[in-house]
Amino acid sequence: MTQASWTKTQKSDVTQTSKNSRLKFIIGGAVLIAAIAFLVVNAMSGSTQLYKTVDEFYADKSRLAGRDLRVAGWVLGDSIQYTQIDAMNSRLEFDIVDDYARPEQKLHVVVLNEPKPDLLQHEAQALVEGRGDENGVFTSIPGGLMLKCPTRYEEMEPEV
């Protein structure tokens, strides 16, 4: 008899523990999700950029000018210019386009006091963080210029 009642208590105890632990898990999970959400939202507030191509920038120029953007475009090799203004200041400039067939729709990228990246050359794809103005001049933030390896290593057609 004693044995029977002991078993019974044990069983309901187990159910109780199981319920408790499930509750703990649900609460823990909710706290976890809330914490992640807080960290994500908090870190992102005011620090996200819109990602645009050159053409997208022009399509909505009045709204996008002056905003934090990351633009992507193809480099026009002839436009690359690096000027050492004085000992401490340099200026790197080049144009990017979406389509080489339409070179007039271009952004003029200006990067101050940064080295000229090795990969900056004709047909390289540039990603630039910064702000553009209505005249199509796009000023990069420090460290805001990144380049993809020129695609010719993978996509060029053979010339004989």
Partner: protein
């Protein structure tokens, strides 16, 4: 001719893989052992076939056979032989072929090794691994064929991208691939356990070493990638939160969570569902990572050709995910555990917190990486988040994880007393506080850094104390100090190897805090004899020389003397290399490297006509070498944990519960 044989071998391998899936499934359904055995042989044969294809491609590369498009794409006649060999994974088609080779090798090894021990799981594991193989073989047979021919044979090839000629870059991709591919094996066994409804921990024990080895390679790939970026990319950094980097970090995180949580299943038979979920997640992230890298879905600075394989990858991930989800829900009841966490201050709870934190980090990285897609979905505009956002969100999570790393070893299974933990942390906390107080007295005022260093110091002391306690206990039994320590490691490789990994991580964290919070940089144009000063370093510029190097290289090299406290430390030669055939420049930094910091210099610009003027960019990277040193310790720790243990294997064979042989026959 070679190309035809190569293609034929791949087609044959593809057919073998398909046959093995069908035969294994049929044999298992109808209980015909001969079919299953035949499936196994077909799986093993895939390896020599893919190997033959790889060999033929390498021979074609060495012979500069430009009738093969891939050879033309990634190599040129005067490239050194070792680069021609490594060009095997220098482009899309070749790297997919290489993926196939590694996967075939891993699968064949897994099938050959434990076949008799795991008769019940093997047919299913074979099916799952072969499904993955079929997919990747499909890609190289039908979509990205490495043996595609050119109609007209060009006189010379494109040459390998110069950025990929660095030793770090030669080893980095194979390491990542090994890591990626390696996780296929534990995933295959996990799925096999689900399908065969053998949900005890035998699949975990069988694949524990596979998991550790895959994880090791993935870790090595990440560390070497960082080192390569630091040495070659010339931006003074090693990690940029680029989607492609994240694509390999995410499976690493999921794998790390899995490696920790399986220990709860081994000890307490709990968390079976969770472990299944984690290995499925790891595998999915591996395939997703391979997909992201190659599809151009997310804009990244890493370049891979964008090709038609994107939708196929997506389909494959979806298929495997649905398959996994189906089997998990089917075995829902069997995965439930009788045991529960009894105390929130127990070892199992500590592992649970560890999992929570790692999954939280993973979730944050995932959200940010895919933010362009997520934001476009909700707002119609592609958004983007940069590295500072990652760092702000992740810093608290990493800090908690490092703290937990120190405290967790003090907990016991089932429950541990608060008093015991309190006693354990008291002295380490005090010593860490003293350490930070000294830093403060020397003028450090960054609260982030002080807190970071406190946590690292605290956890490092606690971890080292674990070694001390274990060794001392053995010494009391009459062993000498070294003998006691070595026996401690040998008796419990998993645990103490794990602690060495923790020490490695803490050393790396120490370095990361140093470089992230105290990096300085400057850029200046100098005339001969002029100098720049950064921190305690003064660099005097001498001259710029131009000369021809190997191959088609044109080298521009600056010479500059570096002084510290007025004494000459080293003469640096930062340079710019120009590969004249492709007109691809490469900036090679030079640095004064010490335990406390790197003084890292780039030659940015020079006047072609005069040797007397050049522009330099210099970085002072405090504690950066701790990152690499920590990486070495980390790898050694993983090797200790993964080293074959004869006693353990014996146990596995002798334990009837884990020996399917008797049951199956």
């Amino acid at each position: 001719m070679l190309a035809d044989i190569g293609n034929f071998a791949l087609v044959l391998a593809f057919l073998c893989a398909i046959f093995s899936v069908v035969a294994a499934w049929y044999g298992q359904r109808t209980s015909q052992v001969a079919w299953v055995e035949s499936a196994r042989n077909a799986t093993i044969v895939v390896f020599p076939l893919v190997f033959t294809a790889c060999l033929l491609l390498v021979i074609s590369l060495l012979r500069s056979d430009f009738s093969i498009e891939y050879v033309w794409r990634v190599s040129s006649i005067d490239m050194p032989a070792y680069l021609k060999v490594t060009a095997l994974w220098g482009g899309q088609a070749g790297s997919l072929l290489f993926w196939n080779l590694l996967l075939a090798a891993f699968t064949a090894a897994a099938m050959a090794r434990k076949w008799d021990e795991q008769r019940e799981l093997m047919p299913y594991a074979l099916i799952v691994a072969s499904l993955t193989q079929i997919f990747f073989l499909f890609l190289v047979v039908f979509i990205e064929t490495p043996f595609a021919r050119l109609d007209v044979v060009p006189p010379d090839g494109n040459g390998l991208n110069p950025l990929l000629r660095h030793p770090g870059m030669i080893i980095h991709p194979p390491m990542l691939y090994l890591g990626f591919v390696g996780f296929t094996i534990p995933y295959a066994f996990a799925m096999a356990a689900l399908m065969a409804n053998r949900l005890d921990d035998s699949w975990i024990l069988t694949t524990r070493r596979w998991t550790l080895v895959a994880w090791l390679f993935l870790s090595l790939g990440l560390i070497l990638g960082g080192r390569w970026a630091y040495d070659v990319l010339g931006w003074g950094g090693y990690w940029g939160w680029d989607p492609v980097e994240n694509a390999s970090l995410m499976p690493w995180l999921a794998g790390t969570a899995f490696l920790h949580s399986v220990m709860i299943q081994e000890k307490r038979d709990m968390f079976k569902t969770w472990n299944m979920f984690l290995i499925i997640l790891t595998y999915s992230l591996v395939i997703l990572g391979t997909f992201v890298v190659r599809s151009g879905v997310i804009s990244s600075v890493h370049s891979f050709a964008q090709s038609a394989i994107g939708p196929l990858f997506f389909g494959f991930i979806a298929f495997m995910f649905v398959l996994s989800a189906y089997w998990m829900s089917k075995r829902r009841a069997d995965l439930a555990s009788e045991n529960h966490i009894e105390s929130m201050a127990s070892r199992e709870a500590a592992f649970l917190y560890n999992n929570f934190l790692i999954i939280a980090i993973l979730a944050v990285v995932f959200i940010f990486t895919y933010y362009p897609i997520i934001s476009e979905l909700f707002t119609g505009e592609k958004g983007f988040v940069g590295p500072p956002v990652y760092e702000r969100a992740l810093a608290p999570l990493f800090a908690l994880l490092l703290l937990l790393m120190g405290v967790a070893p003090l907990t016991m299974w089932y429950r541990s007393s608060a008093k015991r933990i309190e006693m354990g942390v008291r002295w380490p906390a005090l010593v860490a506080t003293l350490f930070v107080a000294v830093l403060f007295a020397f003028g450090m005022r960054s609260w982030g850094a002080l807190l970071g260093f406190w946590i690292v110091g605290f956890s490092a002391i606690l971890t080292l104390l674990e070694f001390w306690k274990g060794t001392r206990a053995r010494m009391r039994r009459g062993e000498g100090p070294w003998e006691a320590y070595m026996n401690l490691l040998a008796r419990n490789r998993q645990r103490y190897g794990g602690y060495w990994i923790h020490i490695g991580v803490l050393i790396m964290a120490f370095g990361i805090i140093g470089t992230e919070l105290f990096q300085q940089e400057t850029q200046i144009r100098l005339q001969s004899g002029e100098s720049l000063t950064l921190g305690e370093y003064q660099m005097v510029f001498n001259t710029v020389d131009r000369f021809a190097g190997l191959d088609d290289l044109m080298i521009t090299e600056a010479t500059a003397e570096v002084y510290k406290d007025g004494r000459l430390v080293e003469t640096l030669r930062p340079r710019s290399e120009l590969y004249t055939r492709t007109m691809q420049p490469m900036t090679i930094p030079d640095s004064v490297s010490t335990v406390t910091e790197d003084f890292y210099v780039l030659l940015v610009d020079w006047e072609p006509l005069t040797p007397n003027q050049a522009t330099f960019r210099a970085y002072l990277n405090p504690l950066i070498n701790w990152i690499w040193a920590g990486g070495v310790v980390f790898v050694i720790g993983t090797l200790i944990a993964a080293w074959p243990d004869r006693r353990e294997e014996k146990v596995l064979v002798l334990d009837p519960r884990r020996t399917a042989l008797g049951a199956a026959d």
